[in-house]
Subunit: 238 residues, 2 copies
Amino acid sequence: MAQVTERKGPGRPPGRTAQGHATRQALHDAAIDLIAERGYEQATMRDIATRAGVSPGLLYKYFPGKQAVVLELYDTLSQRYAEASLKMRPGSWRERALFAMKASLAVLGPHRDVLVALTPVLVGDPEQGLFATSTAGSRQRVQGVFLTAVAEASETLGRKEAESLGRILYVIHLAVILWWLLDKSPEQRATSRLLKLLTRLGAVVGLASRLPGAKGVMRAVDGVIVDGLLGDGTAAPA
Amino acid sequence: MAQVTERKGPGRPPGRTAQGHATRQALHDAAIDLIAERGYEQATMRDIATRAGVSPGLLYKYFPGKQAVVLELYDTLSQRYAEASLKMRPGSWRERALFAMKASLAVLGPHRDVLVALTPVLVGDPEQGLFATSTAGSRQRVQGVFLTAVAEASETLGRKEAESLGRILYVIHLAVILWWLLDKSPEQRATSRLLKLLTRLGAVVGLASRLPGAKGVMRAVDGVIVDGLLGDGTAAPA
C-alpha cells in the first residue's frame, strides 16, 4: 500500500489538483483494502487513516466517512460498467441481456473481495444498500444498460413492454450478482454454470413468450418488482 | 420490557429451572428488541443487559454473545415452522410448496422487524448467515419441509428427482423471504402479489415439465445450487 504524503495549501479543495487526485485515490484504495480484509463494520476511519499513513483529519477531508468511500466505489464501478456495455452488439434481447450480465461480472470480478465484504451493506442497509436513495445514480446507470439492451434488440417490442422486460432482466441480473457473491464453489464456477442454465431457460422463455397471456405475465412481474423493490413504496399497485 | 430479577444459586445451570427459563426468555426478548431497534452491529451486549435491567455478567451467563441470541432465534423459528408444516395437506407438489412458502411467511411475519435488522447477517455473514455451518441445523429443518412437500406429493417422482425439486423449491423459498425482507410496499403487499405470480408461473412450469429434457434441466439447476450455495464448496460438479 502506497503511503500518502500530506500537502497543506489554503483554499485548495481536496482532490482537485493532480496530487490531490493521487492522494484521494490512495486513501480510497486503503479504505477498500481494509474493508475487504475486515468487513465494513470492523474497518474504522481511524484504522483506514493508519493504513494509509495519514492523520484521521486528512482522511476526513477527502471522505467524510466510510459511506462516502462505498458510494464512490459504486459510482466508479457503475461507470466502468456503462462503458463496457457500449461494446454490446446487435442481437436478440436474450443475447444482449446475457452479454450485459457477463460484462457486469467481468467489471465486478477484480473487486469481488470488497464486494463480498460489502454484501451485508448492499443487501441489508436502507441507507447505502442496493435500493437506497443515495445509490440511485449508480443503480439507474446499471438499469439503463438493461433497458437499452432490450430497447435496441432485434425484436420489435412496444416501448412499455421493452421497459418492463428491461427492468425484469435488471433484477434477474441483481440476483445473479448476489448468487456470485455467495457462491462457495471454486472460482465461482457455479456462477458460470448458472449463466449457461439461464441461457437454456431463456430459450424456453423465448418460446413461452409467444403464448397468449405472456405479455400480461410480464407486466405483472414488472409491476410487482416496481411495487416491492424499485419504487419508493408509495406507488399504487398497477 | 419486563425487568429481570437475578437469583444466584451455586451449581444451578442457567435456564434449567422455571425461573431460569423465564430469565433466559426475558433476556432473549430484550436482545431481540434491541437488535430490531438498532441493528445487529449497533446493539451491544452491554446495552442489551441495560435494557433487561441485569448486569452484563448475568447476560453472559445465559448468552455468550449476540451470536448465541441469533442462533437461538433461528432455532426457535425453524422449529415453529416445522410444526406449522405438519398441517400440510395432500396435494400436488405445487400446492404443497405454495403452502410451505405461505406457512414460512406466517411464522416469520411477527418477527419481521428483527429479521430485517438481521438481513445483513443472514445474507452476508459467513459465520451466522443462511449458508453457514453454525446455522445448518435450522437450515436443514426448513429444507426438510420442502423435501417432504415434494416426496409426499400426489405426483409420483423418483427419489432423486424429488430431492432435486425439493432443494430447488427451498432456494426459491429463500428468495421469496429475501424479497419479503426487502419489500418496500405497504404491508409487503408486493410479496402477496409475488406469490400469486409464482402460482401462475408454476402452472406453466407444470406444463413445461412434461417436455423432453425437463428432468435434465431440473437436475442441472439442482447441481448448480448444491455446488454454489448449499454444498461446502469442495464437491466436484455433477
